[in-house]
Symmetry: C2
Subunit: 191 residues, 2 copies
Amino acid sequence: MKKSIGAETIIYPTPVLVVGTYNAEGEPNVMTAAWGGICCSSPPCVAIALRKATYTYGNIVQQGAFTINIPSEKHARCADYFGIVSGKRVDKFDVSGLTPVKSALVNAPYIEEFPFALECKLIHQIEIGLHTQFIGEILDIKAEEGVLDEKGKLDIEKVRPIFYAPGANTYYRMGEFLGEAFSIGQEVKKN
Amino acid sequence: MKKSIGAETIIYPTPVLVVGTYNAEGEPNVMTAAWGGICCSSPPCVAIALRKATYTYGNIVQQGAFTINIPSEKHARCADYFGIVSGKRVDKFDVSGLTPVKSALVNAPYIEEFPFALECKLIHQIEIGLHTQFIGEILDIKAEEGVLDEKGKLDIEKVRPIFYAPGANTYYRMGEFLGEAFSIGQEVKKN
C-alpha cells in the first residue's frame, strides 16, 4: 500500500547536463540543467528544459544551437558551479579555468576538458510552464580518445558520469555493472 | 582535442522508466522506456518518448494518462523484461507476478511492488520523428513507506535506482554519495 507524497519532480536517476551556448557577441557560456534527456532515436534528438529567466534560454533562441556536455566525477564541482551563477554576471569559463571549443557543426561551444559533448541544432521549442523545452537534433558527438573503448565507442566506465537526486539536491557516483539490457529480462520471460 | 564519434543517442545517466497504462478494455500494461525525464517544475511535468508501434503509445493516446514507475536494483530483471516483450501479445503483469494498482487520480495503473510511481495526466504530444514525446503533468507520487526518510521524503539510498547506458545497452547500480548540489560548486566560485 503506497502513500501519497505530493506532486514532486523526482525521477532517479536525473542527469547533470552542462549546456554550452554563445551570446549575440559570440561569448561562450555554460549552464547546468537537470531537466532533460534523449527524446528520439531518428533523427537523434535530445531535450533540455530551461526557465526563460536563464541566460542560456536567450542564447539558444538567438543562435538555434547548443551543446550538451557530460561531466565526469572529477568535474562535479565545476558542473555544480555552472548551475549556481548566471552567465549574465560572470564569465564561467574564465572562473572555472575550462576551455570553450567552437563546434564546427553548430554555432555553440563545447568544453574541451569534459569527456564528451553532443552538438545540437534546435528543431523544436515547447512552452510547458515555468520551463521551456528545447529539442535539439544531435548532429555529432565529440569525445575524448581516453573515454573510448577499443572499437571507438563511448565506455561509461571510463567516463564515470555523475547523477543528480532532485528533492534531496545531492549528487551520486555511478556504481557497479548490473547486467545487460534486453538480456537479463529473458529469465522472467521463461518463467 | 576531441574526436567525432557520430550522431549517437547517448547521455549518461539515462533512466529506466516503466510506463503503466490501461488499454480500451481496462487491461493493465507496462513497458520500459529510456527516453524521458522531468521537463518542467511548475506545473510539475515528466516527458516520455515512445515509438508509435508500441502498445503503450495507443493506450496513452486513448486514455490521456500514464504512470512512471521507478525500479530498484531488485526489479532490474522485471524492468528489462518489460522492454523486451509487447503487451499486444503478453500479459506482462501475469508473467512477472507483479501487481497493478489503479490510480485514484488518473486512469492508469502503477506497480505495487516498485518503490514509487508518478501519476501523470497527458498534456502535450509532440511528434519528433521515430519517437513521439508525451508530456504528462505529475498529479502525485505514490511511494512505499520503506523508501521514505524520517521527514516523509524519498530517500534515494533506500530506493537504490538503476540506470541505463545507451550504446553499450548495459545497466548500472547507483554508486556512492558525491556531494551536495548548489554547494560543492561554491569552491570554484571563490577561486
